[in-house]
């Protein structure tokens, strides 16, 4: 990685930490501890299932909320506060700024996910008293959740490069919800005809397919996840995030910073 991108990424990470973004971990820890104690008392033989489902869903939702709310401010806040002026008047290219911001936020989310994952495994150990070999699929589910964050970060940056923070949040969150039902949208497209089919199919493939990245249920049921899916999802997420990031760069490269 180019050194300037690394410096910008590192500063973005430091900003997130100092703005207490990682404080969400406390809420997550409280939620998971309470759930583990509660489930340990009432459920019969499904403790593992509930803890994994609840834990991974919380990891995903906490991360997506951070990705959207921090991501939409990455560019707009710098323009609004004019901190960008003293960065771009140095030998920093605009695309380096965007890419650095992206990696900084992605790094924050990876660290956040790492600590939340420790929480999930801790809760699992508390309710099930031991790990089994099938639990390795939880790691793959966590990896897919990180891929999901990369896409959401890139989309938040894309929207924030041309619209207000509020609109960016609405766009990014809507796309996250629609993308979570991308498989259903594709199924719906096959049931339609003519122009509607054409539009529905197009929309189904344009929105990010978060369905394919959601293997929480499979991990909870200790089902094996194929390496082919891992490879496909990796390629898909990297490609989608790269496209969204390229869009953000294209817009930002032409923007007048009034």
């Amino acid at each position: 990685m180019n050194a300037r991108i690394a410096y910008i990424a590192s500063n973005t990470f430091r900003e997130a930490v100092r703005d207490r973004v990682l404080y969400n971990l406390i809420a997550f820890a409280v939620l998971l501890s309470a759930a583990a104690i509660f489930i340990g008392q009432i459920s019969i033989e499904i403790e593992r299932l509930v803890v994994i489902n609840l834990g991974l869903t919380a990891v995903s939702l906490f991360g997506v909320v951070i990705a959207i709310f921090v991501g939409i401010g990455l560019v707009s806040k710098e323009i609004e506060k004019r901190t960008l002026y003293t960065v771009l008047s140095r030998p920093v290219r605009r695309w380096e700024f965007i890419v650095g911001k992206f990696f900084g936020l992605a790094g924050t989310l990876v660290v956040n996910t790492f600590f939340m994952a420790i929480g999930v495994f801790g809760a699992l150990l508390y309710v099930a008293h031991r790990f089994s070999s099938g639990d390795s699929s939880i790691l793959i589910a966590l990896y897919f959740i990180i891929l999901e964050f990369l896409i959401v970060c890139a989309l938040a940056l894309l929207f924030s490069s041309f619209s207000s923070p509020l609109l960016s949040a609405i766009f990014a969150f809507s796309l996250f919800v629609i993308g979570s039902f991308a498989d259903d949208l594709r199924g719906f497209a096959t049931l339609t005809h003519g122009l509607t089919r054409w539009i529905a199919t197009g929309a189904a493939y344009i929105v990010p397919n978060f369905s394919t990245l959601n293997v929480i249920s499979a991990a909870a049921h200790q089902q094996a996840i194929s390496w082919q899916l891992v490879a496909e999802n990796t390629l898909y997420a990297v490609f989608y995030a790269a496209m969204a990031l390229s869009g953000a760069i294209l817009i930002f490269e032409r923007r007048n910073l009034k």
Binding site: I8, N11, K81, R82, Y85, T86, S89, R90, L257, K258
Partner: protein, 313 residues
């Protein structure tokens, strides 16, 4: 050699929500700043000074025209390693300390890691912020932020420094310090281009100034040239409050302030005035040619611009 050559830079914004209409922020601007100069870019608020600076920094794209900085195209990334920029009313990452901020900017400007710490310490001493280098910027006053801004602009030892309203927000002592700093930069061989609407600063510091109003260049030249002597007029100042009758007869223009009195006479009448003071045993303090102030020149240019704009409308 010219440090800055602005070749017809102009900027038109499209304004309005539904029906966009063009609004010209800067008329084609041609300007040259020589190496080692302190150059003042003067104009009232909204004149186009900041737009010009932002275009030179690559923050705003010009509608037309180009510029060369330090002999290279101004878009060349290499150029940016050799320039420093202080924006107007600067705001920095307030979660960082002054030391961390300068370290970050040093990294982005390519200051080698081995030199960075000593360079930052030197800058903090220079702008008087050593005692608060560990304090987060959110706790800094406006004046302190301005000092940090100056430190970040010169941290990487640039050849050319752009300062947008550098005295803004500073108390009289702070302004004096910034003035001294600008003069030091010049002594170090740097070129300083600064925008201001405080004319006394420009008059005290600048080798040359340009005046801009409503996006149009009104005049450019050496300060001494612009504040040229008023043909044949001389100011005579003496100690005392008494004005001799012969001086009153020479000139209707005389003032008494405190323990001194002054009059303005033509060059041919200077000897007569001095003789009058001698006769009355009044002590002569000074005899100086009368010059127009930069302020008078500035006001005249602005009035001319307004009259021209009024006629064309």
């Amino acid at each position: 050699m010219a440090s800055i050559e602005i070749l017809g830079l102009e900027k038109t914004y499209m304004v309005g929500f539904w029906r966009k209409r063009p609004k010209r922020a800067l008329q084609p601007l041609h300007l040259t700043v020589e190496d080692g100069e302190i150059f003042g870019f003067l104009g009232p608020n909204g004149a186009g000074k900041t737009t010009t600076l932002k275009m030179l920094m690559g923050l705003v794209f010009p509608t037309a025209g180009t510029a060369r900085i330090l002999g290279k195209e101004w878009t060349d990334p290499e150029v940016k390693a050799q320039i420093g920029f202080l924006p107007e009313q600067p705001y920095f990452y307030d979660y960082l300390t002054a030391h961390e901020l300068l370290d970050y900017y040093g990294q982005l400007s390519g200051v080698p890691a081995k030199d960075r710490k000593s360079r930052i310490d030197e800058m903090l001493i220079r702008v008087g912020l050593t005692d608060v280098k560990g304090l987060q910027l959110r706790k800094f006053s406006k004046g302190m932020l301005q000092r940090v801004g100056i430190a970040q602009a010169i941290l990487h030892n640039p050849k050319l420094v752009f300062l947008d309203e550098p005295m803004s927000g500073l108390d009289p002592l702070g302004r004096r310090e910034v003035r001294d700093l600008i003069l030091q930069l010049q002594q170090e061989g740097k070129t300083v281009f600064f925008s201001t609407h405080i004319l006394s600063d420009a008059e005290a510091l600048c080798d040359r100034v340009a005046i801009i109003h409503r996006g149009e260049l009104q005049g450019v030249g050496a300060v001494e040239e612009l504040t040229k002597a008023v043909q044949g007029k001389v100011e005579v100042v003496w100690q005392g409050t008494h004005v001799p009758a012969s001086i009153k007869a020479l000139s209707g223009e005389f003032h008494v302030a405190g323990e001194t009195a002054r009059t303005v006479v033509s060059e041919s009448q200077v000897d007569v005035a001095i003789d009058a003071l001698r006769r009355e045993r009044l002590r002569l303090v000074s005899i100086t040619p009368v010059r127009t102030s930069l302020e008078s020149y500035f006001v005249e240019k602005l009035q001319h611009s307004q009259t021209t704009a009024g006629k064309s409308a």
